[in-house]
Amino acid sequence: MIGILIVTHGSLADEIMKTCFKIIGERDTVGAYSIQWDDDPTLATRRIEKLLKKLDQGDGVLVLTDMFGGTPTNIMISLSKNSHVEIVTGVNLPMLIKAVTTMSTFNDLSEFAEKVKQQGQKNIYKVSDILSMKRV
């Protein structure tokens, strides 16, 4: 079973996880770590490392971060050297819902990460395009 960890700036990670759970129900192999603005990065790294170990049940952990180049992603890149993770940036709610509802159907972490990335991108819409499609 693949685990999922969301890591972001501010409180986004915890809030997006709570929102996802409110919609589809709670899951215990999904975790979140929100790095607050005044947190010590070294301490945050150690705590995230512990959380990663807890979430890795043998098939690795998909890490969803907010933005490439930011501290959450950079910390995860440093941790990726010693752990079985794939990192996908730009976490959004459809991406997370898709990831959480399909995680049990994948064994290959890299394949799962690719699918989640595609779904996250695919589910961003310009609403007027959708509405005009419906009127046709």
């Binding site: 409110k22 919609i23 589809i24 129900g25 459809p94 589910n123 959708i130 499609m133 419906k134 009127r135």
Partner: protein
């Protein structure tokens, strides 16, 4: 295949939590579930697909279900919608 038009009667229509309940119910059946409205057809076992229908209260959705347990699946979905997704209003 069984096909039926069902009208949404709950106040918020097919919003996120209702869609999740519908999909979770659908996943308990083997049959393939298609939901259509206007020109959009959604996979009844994918929440993101179902949400694309953008269906508020009063919307009529066409359910097309095909498979070994199609009758039971239709009855269960019909009941969930009639029960207003157990949301109370």
């Amino acid at each position: 295949m069984v096909e039926k038009r069902l009208k949404l009667v709950n106040k918020l229509g097919l919003h996120a939590r209702a869609a999740a309940k519908l999909v979770q119910l659908g996943e308990t059946f083997k049959s393939e579930i298609k939901i259509s409205k206007d020109n959009v057809e959604a996979n009844g076992k994918s929440i993101l697909s179902v949400l694309l229908l953008a269906a508020p209260v009063g919307t009529e959705l066409t359910f097309s279900i095909q498979g070994p347990d199609e009758e039971d699946a239709m009855a269960a979905i019909d009941s969930l919608i009639e029960r207003k997704f157990d949301e109370g209003e």
